[in-house]
């Protein structure tokens, strides 16, 4: 890969991180009072807002109703000022529709939909600032929002991206590393059981490297799950203090 050196000789990346280091993850639950559940998450410079409405009655097409489980409806959209170049349409383009479907698939694997037959759960994700790892940040923020809404899940859903440069796997790619043309693998993991909810890889990779890359991504996801767990416990402690328990 000519051009920008993604990994220097001393083992430092473009933003000064080591190969397996994650970006700083900060999150806050219960950001909006009107929604059933909401969360805000920052993963490095990527900022995401997730809002959950539901479970409620299925709106719109009656054909969507499932008699034995809840329907999960996701929408992924980006703010027009989120990218370096102004985006004309917040959602409705192919990329956003694809991301919405991926999010739907991810959460159908984690949420206990059998508990809410004939109803609908809406998950809306908004990217306020985009700097790589959009999908992963969305999944992490949406997990917190679903927990804030009190909807039962099998496990946390944690996602992270991983790349491969000079025989070294890189964890949690930023925008420059993703668009550099190298391999990029996105994994959504349910950490306790080690179950994978979504797996997506772009660009070419030699099959011998696949195992190392998967391992790196799953370790990164487990790291993220620790942070999310911490955030949830802190939020629970804060709210229980306020309600006087």
């Amino acid at each position: 890969m000519a051009g920008i050196e993604l990994l220097s000789d001393q083992g430092y990346r473009l933003d000064g991180r080591k190969a397996t280091e994650l970006r700083k993850v900060q999150a806050q639950m219960g950001v909006f009072g009107q929604a059933d559940g909401s969360a805000y998450l920052e993963q490095g410079n990527t900022k995401v807002l997730a809002v959950v409405y539901g479970p409620h009655e299925v709106r719109g097409a009656r054909s969507k109703i499932q008699h034995d489980r809840a329907v999960i409806n996701c929408q992924y959209s980006m703010a027009t000022f989120s990218t370096a170049e102004r985006k004309r349409r917040p959602h409705g383009d192919r990329k956003s529709s694809e991301m919405s479907l991926h999010l739907k698939q991810t959460f159908e694997a984690a949420v206990l939909t059998q508990l809410y037959p004939r109803s609908q759960i809406d998950i809306y994700v908004k990217i306020l600032q985009s700097d790589g790892g959009n999908y992963s940040a969305c999944v992490n923020a949406a997990t917190l929002a679903v927990i804030d809404a009190g909807i039962p899940m099998r496990d946390y859903v944690c996602a992270c991206t991983a790349g491969f440069v000079d025989d070294t796997p890189l964890a949690d790619l930023c925008h420059a590393e993703e668009s550099g043309g190298g391999t990029s693998l996105a994994v959504a993991l349910l950490p306790r059981g080690g179950q994978i909810a979504l797996l997506q890889m772009d660009a070419r990779l030699h099959q011998d490297h696949l195992d190392t890359l998967m391992e790196a991504a799953m370790t990164a996801c487990k790291g993220v799950s620790k942070v999310l767990d911490e955030v949830v416990r802190q939020h629970l402690q804060e709210t229980s203090v306020l309600t006087g328990e």
């Binding site: 009107q34 959602h91 409705g92 809406d122």
Partner: protein, 291 residues
């Protein structure tokens, strides 16, 4: 807009309260709710601001790009507004549901800013007839709790105050063609003068009186509203009646007077707050949505 259902008894209660200058949350007819303003929340933009008015939450991002000036006014730059009613606010805005409201809001913003004194558009010109700065003002509606116009206009004023446009140098190369260079120094920038930027005041007529900063519940009890955009000097740049009911001329006159008074009083504390925030400089702790 996200609506709330109110029963007849509730309507009567609100009506009687407003008649005695006492609203449901204890405010008087001309009081605003608690407003929180923070600038520079999104770093990808040239200027941004986040305003929380009660439960209404609005985020404005401004990006400055170089474009071609309009043929009618070759020595001026211009502003482009886009309002995104996101599904975060209410599930009804999912997909294309929020487009109607978004278009209505952005059209009103165009009208409010269309007069030549609000913003010095000549300062946005780079080369007359060839290049100018275009300010793309993107409004993101995160939560709706009534009084969207007021919150949006305050956020736009704060974001414009926060906007830093890079300085431009025009250099000539050998063939006589001109090249535009942007300054590399992030602190070498031009600020926008927001002194004359108007703020919108929405007045809702409830019974025989009118209220400022109505909540969704009060909006459901009102017949019609009047939108007035007022500058800090008390000049009115746009007046618009919204809503399905009808207003008689005396009401409109009274509401305009109230709007001018309230609008004029809104500017001074706003500018003080923005300047205080700016003076904290890099020491300011950015909160955003965390905490």
């Amino acid at each position: 807009m996200a609506t709330v259902q109110v029963s007849e008894a509730e309507k009567l209660y609100v009506l009687h309260g407003v008649r005695d200058d006492l609203r449901v949350d204890g405010r008087s007819c001309e009081d605003y709710r608690h407003m929180e303003i923070e600038t520079d929340v999104v770093s990808n933009t040239d200027g941004s601001a986040k305003v929380t008015l009660g439960h209404t939450n609005v985020l404005v991002g401004i990006k400055a790009e170089i474009g071609k000036p309009k043929p009618m006014v070759p020595d001026e730059g211009y502003l482009e507004f886009f309002v995104d009613c996101s599904a975060n606010a209410t599930p009804e805005f999912e997909g294309r549901g929020g487009e109607g409201l978004g278009i209505e809001l952005s059209n009103t913003l165009y009208k409010v800013f269309s007069n030549k004194h609000s913003i010095d558009l000549k300062s946005l010109c780079i080369r007359p007839g060839e290049n100018c700065w275009v300010l793309y003002v993107d409004v993101l509606l995160l939560q709706c709790d009534g009084n969207l116009f007021d919150a949006i206009s305050v956020a736009i004023k704060a974001a414009l105050f926060n906007t830093k446009i890079p300085r431009v140098h025009i250099s000539e190369d050998e063939d006589g063609g001109k090249e535009i260079e942007l300054s590399d120094d992030p602190y070498d920038c031009v600020r926008v003068n927001v002194e004359n930027v108007p703020c919108i005041v929405t007045l809702c007529k409830i019974g025989h009186r009118h209220v400022v900063d109505a909540t969704l519940q009060e909006k459901a009890c009102s017949v019609a509203s009047l939108l007035i955009s007022v500058t800090h000097r008390g000049t009115v740049t746009c007046v618009r009646k919204v809503g399905g009911g009808s207003l008689d001329p005396e009401s409109i006159f009274e509401m305009t007077e109230t709007g001018k008074r309230v609008g004029k009083a809104l500017h001074t504390p706003l500018m003080e707050l923005l300047q205080k925030e700016e003076s904290l400089g890099s020491k300011r702790q950015k909160v955003g949505f965390l905490g």
